[in-house]
Symmetry: C2
Subunit: 498 residues, 2 copies
């Protein structure tokens, strides 16, 4: 073959040095079968002259090809394409080389059962878990501009400077010791959680906690009861493991254990948000809590308690965690710092019964070893030095005020279209639409106008009597909330004739 033809050079390409371009060209020609085994290459001097480049460049390219086994140098008799490259492979290359993407796009893939489900749901999952767009009324955001990032950076710098020895190696799968201790203390004193420090496992957030729980404790065909409507991170995990999911509608007292016991086949696990139901916001009554624990004990079932935003209670004392009532070690308590610190941190915690500590630590180790060390160090100091509590207190006041603005503005401008009542806790309100107005439709229209308001029906498979919108207010100041409510009113008027 014509050797020159296989060399493609672009001297204007700054990203790839010339010797590498030659190397690439020759390698590709060999792999594509264009240069056959045993072919003699031109002498480096001759090729350099022909290409109008320095001889060293060619020598460099040949050297690398020799080093990697594509070429063989026979002393005194020049350079050849290596003879021992497997023929079959080279032929395969010829067949495939120009159609990689097409081949890849159209082939049938062999997945695990889990992989098959994920592949089927991947679009839906991507939609549920895309990056936040920080515009009103996106929920589950924090007021990041109020976070003491300078202080955080300072603590971070201190640890980077003085803990480098520790940072040179790997950390504990269960989490950084002082952070586990700080979390345990916080949960005992603020949330009434009953635990030893050792029961606290640092997670990458609620999602990982739920993922590990489902993976470890749900066998094929085990039944899981979920709240309806339900947090999507959880319902998506449960839909893709091998469990059988049953959705149990919540009422004013939260998860309805009596209804579940009466109407559903017995479950191995139940997921609840007792402090504040997500997304509807009710609190689980004491009687329901006790009934749930009694049922769990009688049936050797597990209760996942997702305590995601209990710190933001604006009136009355926060109800202690369900876990604190559990004397039979059936509750797995899931906490997060996404709401109290910031979501991008990716740190949460899981409190497990004593006999599950080891298996959960092992599960975290095999999943991803451990949480980033500096982030854990900084968070530990942030809690121990009192900044955490101080910040949460400040945010509680701020968020209460922002909620009041939203309620006030909604009453003034959205009456008849969106029924927005106050709540004594949480980070969003639910605004209810008139009967017959489709909340998904409204949510789509709202998004077209640059706002975000998730429809309640996204969180349930049931047909709702009335549709609703989640209205997050924590990340937006008075002016932004005012403007957004007016915009919403305009959308209601123009698009829905209200």
């Amino acid at each position: 073959m014509n050797f020159d033809a296989c060399i493609s050079l672009d001297p204007t390409d700054d990203a790839v040095p010339l010797y590498k371009q030659i190397y690439n060209s020759i390698r590709d020609a060999i792999l594509d079968g264009a240069l056959e085994s045993g072919t003699r290459l031109p002498a480096s001097r001759a090729l350099a002259e022909q290409l109008g480049i320095s001889r060293m460049t060619v020598v460099n390219a040949y050297d690398q090809l020799l080093g990697e086994g594509y070429l063989e140098g026979k002393h005194g008799s020049g350079t050849y394409v290596a003879s021992h490259l497997p023929e079959e492979f080279l032929r395969v290359q010829v067949r495939k080389s120009s159609a990689v993407k097409t081949v890849s796009r159209s082939r049938r893939l062999a997945f695990s059962d889990y992989g098959k489900k994920l592949a089927r749901y991947s679009e839906r999952i991507a939609h549920h878990h895309s990056a936040s767009i920080v515009v009103p009324f996106q929920h589950s955001l924090v007021a990041a501009e109020e976070f003491p990032f300078d202080l955080w950076a300072k603590i971070n710098q201190k640890h980077l400077r003085f803990s480098s020895r520790r940072l040179g190696g790997y950390g504990d799968a269960a989490g950084f010791g002082p952070l586990r201790k700080a979390i345990a203390h916080h949960l005992r004193s603020s949330r009434g959680v009953r635990c030893e420090d050792e029961q606290v496992i640092v997670t990458a957030g609620t999602q990982q906690a739920v993922f590990l729980i489902a993976n470890l404790l749900l066998a094929r065909d085990d039944k899981v009861w979920l709240e309806d409507p339900c947090h999507l991170g959880t319902s998506d995990v449960m839909a893709t493991v091998e469990a059988k999911v049953s959705h149990v509608p919540v009422d004013d007292e939260g998860f309805n254990i009596e209804k579940a016991k009466r109407d559903r086949r017995p479950a191995r696990m139940v997921y609840v948000t007792p402090s504040r139901q997500f997304p509807l916001g009710m609190t689980m009554s004491l009687q329901r809590r006790l009934s749930l624990l009694e049922w769990a004990n009688d049936n050797e079932a597990w209760v996942i308690e997702d305590d995601y935003d209990s710190e933001f209670r604006y009136s009355g004392r926060p109800l202690p965690a369900l876990q604190g009532l559990d004397r039979a070690d059936r509750v797995l308590y899931v906490g997060t710092f996404s709401k109290t610190v910031f979501p991008g941190l990716r740190i949460g915690c899981l409190v497990v019964p004593p006999d599950l500590i080891d298996v959960f630590i092992a599960a975290r180790a095999l999943n991803d070893l451990h949480a980033p060390i500096t982030d854990q160090m900084v968070l530990a100091d942030f809690i121990v030095e009192g900044h955490f509590e101080h910040h949460v207190r400040r945010m509680r006041t701020l968020y209460r005020g922002r909620q009041a603005v939203l309620v006030d503005q909604a009453a003034k401008h959205l009456g008849g279209f969106l029924d927005v009542g106050p709540s004594d806790a949480g980070m969003h309100l639910t605004g209810w639409l008139p009967k017959g107005v489709d909340d998904r439709e409204v949510s789509t229209r709202v998004a077209e106008h640059g706002l975000r308001a998730a429809p309640v029906s996204r969180y349930t498979n049931r047909k709702l009597e009335r549709g609703g919108l989640l209205l997050g207010y924590t990340a937006f100041n008075e002016k932004q909330i005012n403007a957004a409510v007016r915009k919403l009113a305009k959308i209601a008027e123009v698009e829905f004739n209200f």
Copy 2:
């Protein structure tokens, strides 16, 4: 019952305020059945006097108990234990309350199949994945004292200050866009990886990449070929999923695909470390690489390429990644920043074929949503601004020097006991022991003297002809290496008569 008896106060306990102590005492008495439904509580004034504390303290405790539904106030007729608490639950409590730990410790637990395996292996996994002890000759550590942490902290501070809006929300499951782009560019130009930016998924490190791959692509009873000896993070994952593992001994050319094809039942997946076998250090030959890819293509099998420390090549050019030779999209390329930046960062990457992008992004989302945002921002800048390449170059020189010191000192002081040859790459050397000396035994003795040197036999199930020790040198300066080698010589003399 005597009401006083159920109240236990400790005025010297600073951690729990008095009102909470009263609250706890009464709540526990109710839950334990000591205070029955309908029991009338003493008036707050009377109880306060009796306990010698302020009345407000008692009122606070009563208020919380009323709020949570433990007590009921009948207007004008005092405060009572609530009547509607489920009787059965209370009785259960009495039975269990004093024996939580014992009950928990001895009960039979219902796990998933995965959970059962993890429970069986949890001690072993904890042992394999415990926090690093930074003493010679611990391997896989970085020279953290040489890392530009001040620069890192500065970049971090910049992002904390100016990106707060983004930090208030959640990020992309696939990773922070500019980081994916930076990694893709780096892998194309330095490692010969063939990929578009979109094929790069940011992981929490190699462990998570392998975990997700195994979960998604291995169905029940699928066969996996592992290198023997093998990286433990991988062999532990493979031992706990439902795959069937087969270990294939490596030789001088790395993973022996010919042997595997000849002697083993066909596999769905193979895990290899072609750039530098872990832990033995050989490079996979070009012929083996091509054969492996040919086999993968013919059998629709997956190849995991773990490219963990390829940046540290001290002589010759680094061999490009196996992935760059793959024209049939069978390779999943796994990279990490644990060796080039620092392990505590917990960031790595996974490059997948185009038709697997969506399912892997979904898998990361359901596993733990996404990597911490600030860490990703800092790493992106660190790479784009050239600090990464500069640091790797510096470390290459440093590590080469440290290896030379180790080889030199070992030759002088360990001759006959530990055979330590140089290597043109990597972060540790393998020192071979005399025949008949048990490397686990030596490793244990060495640990008793405050050093660490993992035995090669930890990474294999085979009986080795000669035992060996992994000698990490990258995190220790000349003085430390000298001292440690002398100590090792002393141990050899005293404990093993060399």
